[in-house]
Symmetry: D2
Subunit: 349 residues, 4 copies
C-alpha cells in the first residue's frame, strides 16, 4: 500500500441517512475518493443540498444509478430488499461491494425467508459475503470483496454479549434486550410517525416482539439461548442504548465480566468499557457518541439474583452503519483501522 | 340562559390539530355538546384513534362533511382557503359559525387578495364576521353569528401591542416582532420539514419577511406604524414566544407600560402580566402554557435607547386557535367567559 | 356528604414538584380548599413564584411548617425519610394524613430496613397506613385516615402486572421491567446530573439493579416470582414508560391477557387498555398523559417463546404521585372518584 | 515551521465547557500537544471523567493552577473577571496566552467599566491583546502573543454585519439582533435555571436589553449606529442562531448583500453563505453546526420596507469560543488555518 493510495468510491442510494453518513466519513478519509453518488429522486442536484452539513465540502452532484461508472468500491445504501435484487447491476462495476442493508447479512436462506417474509433472490451468493462486524470478523474482512454491514440494533446487542457468551460467563437462559432508538434509524422519509409533533415527546414501543435483527444476532453469537429483542423509539435523533438482561452462574462476579471484555476487546480501537463508580457519566450513554464510531459497553450485576444488566451505546448511523462500513474497508484494504473515524464526539452535546 | 343549556356543536375538518383541540376543550365544556365531527380521510373511524388523548372520553366517529346534520354551532377547521369557498354548504345548517382559518379575518378584500394571492370568493360577506379576539372585540362578539378566529402569531403580537398603541405609549416607529413557533403550528400532515430528524434540533427561520399575519395585526392595531414580523421554528411542539421591539417617547418608563396594560387588561381573565425581579420565571414562557388559554405578557425597557422589548407567550392551539374560539363562544352565548378553559397548565412541563 | 362540602388542606413541603402538583390539582377540586402550604426555604413568598403555572390561580404564600394550623387533611410532600421522623408534628393537626413519600408504604419494618438502609422510626405505626393505590385498595381507602401514596415506578409496574398475576396468566418466572423515566422524578433541586447540557440528550441508566421500588411492587403483587427493575432516565420531563417482560403458559393467547385486564379493570376510571392494530398510537405512550391521572396499559405477545411484553405509561407526578393521592382522597371521603382529575391530556403534546 | 512542529499547551480552568472543548480540538490538532490541564476542584482526577467524550483519547489528569509548569501556549478558560486579575501568574510561563473570557476583549477601560461594572485591573495591558476574530483581525493575529477570543453572541452578530457596514450596504439606523442560545453558553455549573425540568421545554428571554456583548460588537463594527441585542435561551444545548434586522438604502437589492459578503468573505474557510431557494435547509441553522467551526450566514430582504433580515448560526463553543481560539492560533503560528477544525458536522443531528 502506498501512503497516498486512494480508492474510487461510488455510493448508490446516497440521499438517505446511511449513504449520507458514509459520504461524510469518506470525504474525510485519506484513502477514499468519492467519485459518484446516485439518487434517482435527486439526480442532477448537488449532494450538499440534501446533506447540508457537506456545504463547501464537496461539489459532487447526484446521478442516476443507470449512469454508474466504474469504481474501486461500490457502497450500496438502498432500502432493504433492493440490493439483493439489483446486485447484478453492480458486480461488474467494482471489485469491492459493501452493502449497508440487511440483504446479505444472513447466511441461511431459510432464516432469511423466515425473517424477511420472502425467498432470497440470490441464495447461492450469501456465502460470499462477510458479515461486516470488525470485532468478530476481522480476519475474514482482510481482502474481502463483499461486505454485508451489520445491523445497528444487532451490533449493539452482539458487541455487549459476544465476549460473555464466548467465554461462558453467561448461563444459557433467556436474554432480554431492549433498544432505545433514535428517529434517524427509520430513515430519511417523512411518515405519520416521524411527524415532529407526534414524535418529539414520544416514548413509543415500535417493536415489542419479533424484531428482525434477532436473526442476525443469533447467527453471530455463540451458543444456544433464547434471545428476545424489544425496540422503543426515543426523542433522540441518533443513537441506540441497549440494555440486555442476562444471567450469570453462581459465584461469578464483576471481575469475570471485566476479564471477558478485556480478553476479547483489549485491542479494539472502538470499544470502551464504561463503568465508573461515581459522577453522572457512570455507564454508556449515546449522548456522547453522536458522530463517533465507538461502542461503549458497561454492566452492573445483581448478585442476589444472578442478573447482569449489560449496556451498550452506539451511534446507529456510525458504529451501527456507515462507520462500521469504513472500519471494515480499512481492514479489507489494510489501512489504519481508525482512518476516517477519528472524531471523538462532543461534550456537552 | 338555563344553567344546563347545551348547544349542539359540529366540527368540520376535525382530524387536524385545530379541530382536535377544539374537540378536547368542547368535551369538557358545560354548555357544548359535540354531536358531529367530520373528516373525509377518516370517515367511519372513532375520533379517539386520531386524537388518542380522547380515548375513553368520547365514542364519536368521524363522518363525511356531506353527511352533516343540523347543529347549533358549526366550527370550521379546514385548511386556509377552503372555508370561504365552501361556506354555502354550512350556512343553512347552524345559526352560529366559527371559522378557525384565515378566510374571514380580513375586512378588506383587497388586503385579502394582496395577502393570500387570490380574490376572496365572498367579499361581500366579510363584513358579517367578527374578528375573534375577545380582548379587542368583546362587545361585537355578544350574540355574534359569524366568528373568524384570530391567527395565532397575530394574536401574540396584537395582545402585546394593543394597549400601548391605543394609549400612545409607543412612538410611531418601526416595530419588529419575532415569533418563536412550535411545530404544531404547521398542522398535522407530515412533510420533509416536519420529519423528526430534520426538525428536532432545528432553529429554522421559516418566514423572515412577508408573514401573512402582518395584515391581520395591522388591521386590528390602532395607529400607523410599520410592523415587521419574522417567524422562526423551534424544537417545541406547542407555543409561541413573541418578542417585539418598539420605541417609547422620552421620559416614559416602566410605569407607563404597566399602567397601559392594567388599564386595558385588568379585567381580562386570560391575560397575565409576568415581570418578576428575580428567579428563573421572570418573563412569559410558553413552556408553562401548554393546554391553557392564557396569554402571558411581559416587557423590559432600555431607557438609554428608548427601546422596549415586549414579550408575549401563548399556546398556539389554545389562545392562538381553539381556546380563543371557545372564549368567543362563551361571550357570544353569555356563558361564563372561562367555561371550559379552566386548565392552569403544568409545572414542570 | 354535602354537595358543597369542602375540606381544608395543608400541604407540607409544598415547594417541590410533588407538592406543587398536588396543589395544582387541589385548586381545581370541588371539595378541597387549600388553606396552607409550607416551605422552609420559601416562607413568606407567594406560591405562584415557585409554581409559576399558578399565577392568578392562588394568592397563597408559603409558611414555615412550625406555623402549621389545623386542617382537615395534611399532605406530606417531604423528602424520603422526613415524614416518618416528623410524623408526630402532624398527627394532632388533622384527622387525615396523606404521605407522598416512601416512608409508610412498606408494611414490614425489616423490608423497610433492607430497602432504605435504616430502621423505620415508627415501625408500629406502619399497619395504620393504607397503600395508596386505588385499583388494589379501594375498599381499604374508604374512610382511611392514613394514606401512603404508592411510588411512581412501582405504580406503573403494579398496574401492568396485578391482574395477570392475580388470575394466573403469568408463569412464576423472572419478570424484568424497565422504566423510562422523565427528569421530574428526581425532584426540583438542581444537581450535576440534572444540568440541562448533561441531561437534555441523555439516555442514562441510573438504576440498573437494586431499585427500591422493587420492595413495594413485591409487597403488592400476588404470588412468588423474581421481579427485576431497571430505571433509565430519558429526555422527557414527565412520564414513565414501563415495559415488563413476563412469561405466559403454553396455550395462552392475547385473549387471556385481555380478559384478565377486563375482569379486574373494567370499572376503573383511570385505566385504559391501549392496543391498536394500526396507526402510530398503538401502545401506551407517556407523551399523551402529561397532567392526566391515566395509566395506559398495553401488551404484545411472542407466541413462539411465551414472552409477553407488558407496557404501561403514566405521568409520574399525577398517577404516580399527586393524582393518585387525590384519587385516594376522593375514595376516602366518598367523593366522585374523578373529581379534580378530569384533564384529558394534550395531543399533540 | 517544521511539518512536525508541536507546541506545548496548558489549559487553565479546563473542567468547564470552554476549556473542555479547547482540549477536544487540541487533541486532534497536528501542532498542539496538550501537556497540562488545571482544575482546582478536580485536581488529581483524569480529565476524561469530567469530559467523558475523551475516554480513551487522553490520559491527562487535572492539576492545580499552582502547579503549572512552563508551556508554549497557555489557554485561560477561567470565569469572567478571573483572567485579568490573575494574569501575572501566567505571563512568565508561556510566550503565548489565549484568553477565552471577556477580560481582554475591550480596548477602552471605560467601556470595560461601564459594561462589567468594575474597573479593569490591568487597563494598560489592554492594548497588547488582539481581538481573536480571524475574519477581522487576521493580520494582527500573525505572530500574536496575546489573543482575547471574541465572545460567542458577539461573533454571530459581528460576522453577519461586518461586510455590510464596511461596504455601506446598511443605513445607519437601529439594528436589532436576537440571539437564540443553547444552554451550554451558561457554563458547566448546575443552577436553578439549568435544572432540566425547568429548561428542557423553555423559551426564556434571559437578556432582553443590556447584553454585555453589545460593547464588543460596537467596538469591532465600523460606523455609528445603535445596536440592540436580545438573548433568548432555547432547548438546544449548543448553538446560536442570530437574526439581525437592519435597513438598506432605496434601490439596494439581494445582489448588494451577496456581493458585500463575497467581497469580504470569499476566501474565508469557515464562512458559508446559506440562502437556498427551496427545500428545508434554506437558511443557516445551528442544528447543522454542532462541533464545527463554521459560521453560516444568510439573509432575506423585504424590498417594500427596506428591512433586511440577516441570519447567522454558529456553535457557541466552537466558532464562538474554542474553535475561534484554535483558528487564531493557527494564524498566529502560521499553521494551515483549518488545522484541527476539519469536522464537517452531522446530518441528521
Amino acid at each position: 500500500m502506498s501512503l497516498h493510495e486512494q480508492k474510487r468510491v461510488a455510493i448508490v442510494g446516497g440521499s438517505g441517512y446511511a449513504g449520507g453518513e458514509f459520504l461524510r466519513l469518506a470525504l474525510g478519509h485519506p484513502h477514499l475518493n468519492v467519485t459518484q453518488v446516485t439518487s434517482e429522486r435527486h439526480a442532477g442536484t448537488p449532494v450538499s443540498l440534501v446533506h447540508p452539513n457537506l456545504r463547501g465540502r464537496t461539489t459532487l452532484k447526484f446521478r442516476k444509478a443507470a449512469e454508474l461508472d466504474e469504481a474501486d468500491i461500490i457502497v450500496l445504501a438502498l432500502p432493504h430488499g433492493h440490493a439483493a435484487k439489483r446486485i447484478g447491476e453492480f458486480e461488474g462495476k467494482a471489485r469491492v461491494i459493501v452493502d449497508l442493508s440487511a440483504d446479505f447479512r444472513l447466511k441461511d436462506p431459510e432464516v432469511y425467508q423466515a425473517t424477511y417474509g420472502e425467498a432470497h433472490p440470490t441464495p447461492d451468493a450469501l456465502g460470499n459475503w462477510v458479515y461486516g462486524n470488525p470485532e468478530l470478523h476481522r480476519e475474514d474482512l482482510r481482502g474481502a470483496a463483499r461486505i454485508a454491514c451489520a445491523g445497528c440494533f444487532a451490533t449493539s446487542v452482539i458487541l455487549a454479549l459476544y465476549p460473555l457468551l464466548k467465554l461462558g460467563v453467561l448461563l444459557p437462559k433467556d436474554i432480554i434486550a431492549t433498544g432505545l432508538v433514535g428517529s434517524s434509524a427509520a430513515g430519511a422519509s417523512a411518515t405519520d410517525g416521524s411527524h415532529h409533533p407526534e414524535r418529539a415527546g414520544s416514548l413509543r414501543v415500535y417493536k415489542p416482539v419479533g424484531h428482525r435483527h434477532t436473526a442476525e444476532a443469533q447467527q453471530e453469537l455463540p451458543g444456544h439461548f433464547p434471545l428476545h429483542l424489544t425496540a422503543i423509539s426515543t426523542p433522540r435523533v441518533r443513537g441506540i442504548l441497549t440494555t440486555a438482561h442476562a444471567w450469570i452462574p453462581d459465584g461469578y462476579s464483576d471481575r469475570d465480566v471485566w476479564s471477558a471484555y478485556r480478553e476479547v476487546y483489549s485491542q479494539e480501537p472502538f470499544i470502551r468499557i464504561v463503568k465508573v463508580a461515581k459522577g453522572i457519566h457512570r455507564y454508556p450513554d449515546p449522548m456522547l457518541l453522536d458522530g463517533t464510531n465507538y461502542c461503549d459497553l458497561g454492566f452492573e450485576m445483581d448478585l442476589d439474583t444472578g442478573r447482569v444488566v449489560l449496556m451498550s451505546a452506539i451511534d446507529n448511523l456510525v458504529k451501527g452503519t456507515a462507520g462500521h462500513a469504513i472500519q471494515s474497508l480499512n481492514i479489507a484494504f489494510d489501512w489504519p483501522e481508525t482512518a476516517g473515524l477519528e472524531f471523538a464526539g462532543l461534550h456537552p452535546a
